[in-house]
């Protein structure tokens, strides 16, 4: 809860996040060494900075639910559903291509509200009806995707005003707007987790839900808030995707669910709850992006990339446990370890 002890090297590397940072640097150096003329260019840096925010934001949504020992498999469904809400407002209610900035903001607000409502739905299922999160969100994710299909008949919604492009493709003070959005959300989440009562309670609940109940923590409201937050993060991701694709469709980003889970876990979030830091997730996102762009430059097959992701995840875990071994405290292994 208080500041970490004086950062000495040994101490520092005892932290999973620090080790992940080292791995990230190694990956970066490796890619830079293998394809210096293509990887180490400003253009590549910007390209990567435009690419990762959309799924990185989804990883944040997974992170907050995982901290409670839950998971949100409906994020992609929510993202697409919300993007479609926004796009339908822009194209059906507003005059499409000519819609002004007011319409844009209104549609964004509606999308966020949609994300919150979807999150609330998940939250009620989990907190009040007691469904296991993995199934509740698997089912609700199908429903959200289904709604997105039903709203549109499955086709893409297009014909937006030019201002839609800004969120996903614009730059502000030389920085890509989606990167800024991600930065703000990550910082915000990190802040919420470490500096607010809500964040503390989320982690305590994740560590032992029963004890949280006995400690008079408002469990139901807590879970509601967590899933609403997750839904709203997903909505933002949906808006970024919509801007990047200049269209909205029910099946965009299908592969992001697993990717987001992978990133959160790689980032050191304990999937059984109670531990996780945003900085770890950010490092994991960057590592993944360096790897995937680097391998693309090297014209390595995308399947090899999948192979490497899986290997990386396991490698990081092996490194982490080796370190615990050295401290010889099997009885003090974290909760997830016993699974």
């Amino acid at each position: 809860m208080t500041a970490a002890p004086a950062p000495r090297w040994g101490r520092l590397l005892a932290q999973p996040e620090a080790r992940l940072a080292l791995i990230m640097v190694i990956v970066f150096a490796l890619m830079a060494a293998l394809a210096p003329d293509r990887f180490l260019t400003g253009q590549n840096a910007t390209s990567m900075a435009f690419q990762f925010p959309e799924f990185a934001i989804l990883a944040l949504a997974i992170t907050i639910t995982m901290l409670t020992g839950g998971i949100d498999l409906s994020i992609v469904g929510i993202a697409n559903c919300c993007a479609i809400i926004s796009s339908l407002i822009l194209t059906r209610l507003a005059p499409g291509v000519d819609a002004g900035i007011g319409w844009l903001l209104l549609s964004y607000l509606a999308a966020l509200a949609g994300g919150a409502a979807a999150g609330l739905f998940n939250g009620v299922l989990i907190a009040y009806l007691g469904l296991p999160p993995i199934l509740a969100t698997l089912g609700s994710g199908l429903i959200f995707t289904g709604l997105a299909v039903a709203f549109t008949g499955g086709t893409a919604v297009m014909g937006f005003p030019a201002s839609v492009a800004w969120l996903g493709n614009g730059s502000l003070m030389g920085l890509p707007v989606p990167l800024i959005v991600f930065g703000v959300l990550a910082a915000g989440l990190s802040f919420v987790l470490s500096r607010t009562g809500f964040g503390l309670k989320v982690q305590m609940f994740g560590a032992n839900p029963l004890a949280a109940r006995y400690a008079a923590v408002d469990i139901e409201r807590l879970l509601l808030k967590v899933y609403v937050a997750s839904g709203m993060l997903a909505a933002v991701a949906g808006l970024v995707i919509m801007s990047r694709a200049n269209s909205a469709k029910a099946d965009y980003g299908q592969s992001y669910t697993l990717l987001a889970v992978l990133i959160a876990v790689l980032g050191g979030v304990n999937p059984y709850g109670g531990y996780g830091r945003v900085i770890g997730v950010v490092l994991a996102v960057l590592t993944m992006q360096f790897l995937s762009s680097g391998l693309n430059m090297l014209q390595v097959s995308n399947f090899a990339r999948e192979f490497i992701w899986g290997a990386l995840l396991i490698l990081v875990m092996v490194i982490n446990t080796r370190n615990w071994r050295r401290r010889r405290a099997p009885a003090a292994a974290p909760k997830g370890e016993t699974r």
Binding site: L73, L125, L129, G130, L131, P132, I134, L135, A136, L138, G139, S140, G141, L142, I143, T145, G146, L147, V149, A150, G153, G154, L258, V261, L262, V265, P271, Y272, S301, F303, A304, R305, E306, F307, I308, W309, G310, A311, L313, I314, M317, V318, T321, A333, G336, E337, T338, R339
Partner: protein, 328 residues
């Protein structure tokens, strides 16, 4: 817990209700061809679900089984085609089971040997297995399967003729599901190894303390699940008559997990029944294979499946909560 509030009963109730609605909407719904189609659709899912059930009971989770199954089916097909194309199907099945067991052992080494959490390891191997297959083994679809497998896919356990002269049939592959269920039941409930699986799922620390070889049991669990995965994979390939390295069976992983949890297995480990799992599989198969028949428009199909999953999990969860409120 009375039988009324058990998961099994509730899921069976949902299935029954669905059948009643189905029969009301379409008189042909309750018919032998429908039953055969559904049983057939449940074979591969069922075998995979039994494997996942065993892992859940042992206190772990396995999200790599479909990926493993695809690798096993493809590698086996390549091996058989390359080495002994005239090999009979039993030998090919043994190869697939061995490949699956070997891949399961990979999971086992990381989980039991190095003590890594099961979710993370299997999440890793989910990508790893598939990536390995497509990068290093091959990515071409094989549609002319070796003779043995083709023979197997044509071997029917039950065959009959409909009024209109068309056939209905149930392949022998179904016997494998029955066999797997029987074998797993015997292992879980009639051997000490099986009881140890329950014990480590209930409390791993306690198991360690009374001297259960926890790592060995965990390792065996993953090998067994791998073997079942291999079997499911080769049956899938034989029935589909194609070995597809990019088979969309991959996307069934969550359905498999959903089926097992629908059937009452707890994600925390230590509990779960085969009956429940089979009912869970039945519900998922029934729903996802009846929407066209019931005339539910394409656009609403995923909503319908989603609602049924929520209903299937929601009822027992709500029940459990009520009894818990009453008791605690």
């Amino acid at each position: 817990m009375s039988w009324l509030s058990r998961n099994e009963t509730l899921v069976a109730g949902v299935i029954l209700a669905f059948c009643v609605v189905g029969a009301a909407l379409d008189p042909n719904f309750l018919s032998i061809p429908t039953l055969m189609d559904l049983l057939r659709a449940g074979i591969v899912l069922g075998i995979l679900a039994v494997g996942v059930l065993v892992v859940l009971i042992s206190g772990g989770i396995d999200v790599s089984t479909t990926s493993l199954a695809i690798v096993a089916l493809y590698v086996t097909t390549l091996l058989v085609q390359g080495l002994a194309p005239e090999m009979g199907w039993p030998a090919a099945f043994l190869v697939a089971v061995a490949v699956g067991a070997a891949l399961g052992a990979v999971n086992g080494v990381f989980i039991a040997g190095l003590g890594l959490p099961t979710l993370i390891v299997t999440l890793g191997t989910l990508s790893l297995f598939r990536g390995f297959l497509l990068t290093f083994v091959g990515d071409d679809l094989i549609s002319n399967l070796p003779r043995g497998l083709r023979d197997f896919s044509r071997a029917m356990m039950i065959r009959g003729e409909n009024a209109d002269g068309s056939f209905y049939s149930l392949p022998w592959a179904f016997a494998f599901l029955v066999g797997v269920v029987a074998l797993t039941w015997a292992l879980l409930y009639r051997t000490m190894l099986g009881r140890q699986v329950f014990a480590i799922g209930g409390s791993m620390e306690s198991a360690r303390r009374i001297g259960i070889p926890v790592r060995r049991v965990q390792f065996l669990v993953f090998v067994y699940v791998g073997a079942l995965g291999g079997l499911a994979g080769i049956i899938h390939a034989a029935l589909a008559r194609v070995a597809n390295p990019q088979d969309l069976l991959l996307n069934q992983q969550l359905s498999v997990l959903a089926a097992v949890v629908l059937g009452g297995a707890r994600l925390e480990g230590g509990t779960g029944t085969l009956t429940g799992t089979l009912l869970g599989v039945a519900l998922i198969v029934l729903v996802s294979n009846s929407l066209i028949v019931l005339g539910i428009p394409n656009t609403f199909q995923s909503i319908a499946i989603g609602l049924l999953i929520l209903l299937g999990t929601g009822l027992p969860a709500w029940q459990a909560r009520r009894t818990q409120r009453r008791a605690a």
